[in-house]
Symmetry: C2
Subunit: 243 residues, 2 copies
DNA sequence: TCAAAAGTGTTTCTCGTACACCCATGT
DNA sequence: ACATGGGTGTACGAGAAACACTTTTGA
């Protein structure tokens, strides 16, 4: 039958297919890992131990694992990003909000060979940050305030700029802010996250109202306990994730 | 000097660098080419002449040109997208609003070998569409209404869905709508674009007011002439691009 | 003269912004 | 007792939404 014919046809084609006739690029994932330390938006950078850009700071990242043939095709891009995050920071999967920023593939962005990088941004809870320094591969990794970060290797400055613009844009409408706050948090803590990302100050009263609207939308729920502050203790809340 | 030493060091490293120790993926660009035909949001698809997915419809696209060594590293991703657009549609550069959607790299999305695709969406003025059919490589290219498009090859259905979501999201706040309208246009024509993309109907009066606000923001300017309609002729406007 | 679409007016509601103010608590 | 920050009230303006209405043209 035609159906059977079609299958054999395709199988024959696949067997005859010779990969690698054309040169291929290397593909990496690079991570823009962000958190808030002492009320300052901060980024995780690694010092490059090898050429090119030896000694410069760069985004953590690495090559995407690609299998040898049609049978094993390697790992997903997202999984590669997760793996790099774990290897370079020691953070467990699910500890960060990981989202793809896009592909950066300008020729000569890496002097060695053509490299196309798929960038991700990862937002890490400040309460998990202490774990980061401990990691094995993470020797040479350091947090910098984003506003006073050193110039970066490759086109990583451009990637960081795009990540920041993206996070700012996503601040309202998505749940990015909750990824930068402890499990349970006060209204003021969440407001600080917004202020730090936007680089402005927000009216506490007005922010509170927006916040409470989320509450009866079911995005948030009150949690037990209060947070001790410099003055009157504040109610703590929890983000309810319904994906 | 240390400076001189550093340069020689790096040059030596580059010379010694042996590329291709690890398997590399193929990288393609795929295009979600959209326009509005007869008031219907439409997408350009090509019939696949070869395996895999022979006979299925797919997004236009092709391999990114990658050079042989460090000296020639090939073309930029954006340029590759432009080139494909030209080759497959005959559209000149600048005829379409071309923006990157992201990278799609699930293993086994192509049965032959690991392929990572960088997707772009291209919004084409309906007045330019007649040129499209004429193109050389464009044999087998056809417009489909997006709502009744056939099932696509590879993971292209997913890419299209993401493109549509992106365009809908960008509709307000960016100038995507102006890319789907003739050089000069009436308020009703622009409204139709919004309605078609959002899949809703909009109040003519209210839309007009939003539109006029753009006018005194300087985003638009009145153009000479009127557009003949079924009834009272309408004023035409022009989009002023200040990038 | 009639249908169709351009263009105007009006009302209501929601939301952002600004700002004044009260209240509870740790020091 | 008092400063600090949590929490509340209010008033104004911009804009979204709904809808009734007038005007201008082609057929």
């Amino acid at each position: 039958m035609a159906r059977r014919k079609q299958r054999d046809d395709e199988a024959a084609f696949l067997a005859a297919y010779a990969p690698g006739k054309f040169p291929r690029p290397s593909v990496t994932v690079d991570l823009v890992v962000l958190t808030i330390l002492d009320g300052v938006l901060s980024i995780l950078l690694v010092a490059r131990g090898e050429h090119p850009f030896k000694g410069r700071w760069a985004l953590p990242g690495g090559f995407v694992r690609v299998g040898e043939g049609p049978k094993d095709q390697g790992e997903d891009l997202y999984d590669a990003a997760l793996r790099e995050l774990r290897e370079e920071t020691g953070l467990p999967a699910g500890a960060a909000l990981l989202e793809q920023l896009g592909a950066f593939g300008r020729p000569n962005r890496d002097p060695r060979t053509r490299v196309i990088s798929v960038a991700y941004h990862a937002l890490v809870r400040p309460t998990l940050v202490p774990h980061v320094s401990g990691g094995g591969d993470a020797a040479g990794a350091r947090w910098f305030p984003v506003v006073e970060r050193p110039p970066l290797a490759f086109d990583h400055d451009e990637i960081v700029e795009r990540a920041l613009a993206r996070v700012r844009g996503d601040l309202e409408g998505t749940s990015v802010a909750f990824a930068l706050v402890p499990e349970t948090f006060t209204i003021a803590e969440l407001r600080t996250v917004h202020e730090v990302i936007l680089g402005t100050t927000l009216d506490p009263g007005n922010f509170r109202r927006r916040f409470l609207r989320m509450l009866d939308d079911g995005v948030l729920e009150p949690a037990r306990g209060k947070r001790a502050t410099a003055s009157k203790p504040a109610q703590v809340y929890r983000f309810v994730d319904r994906r």
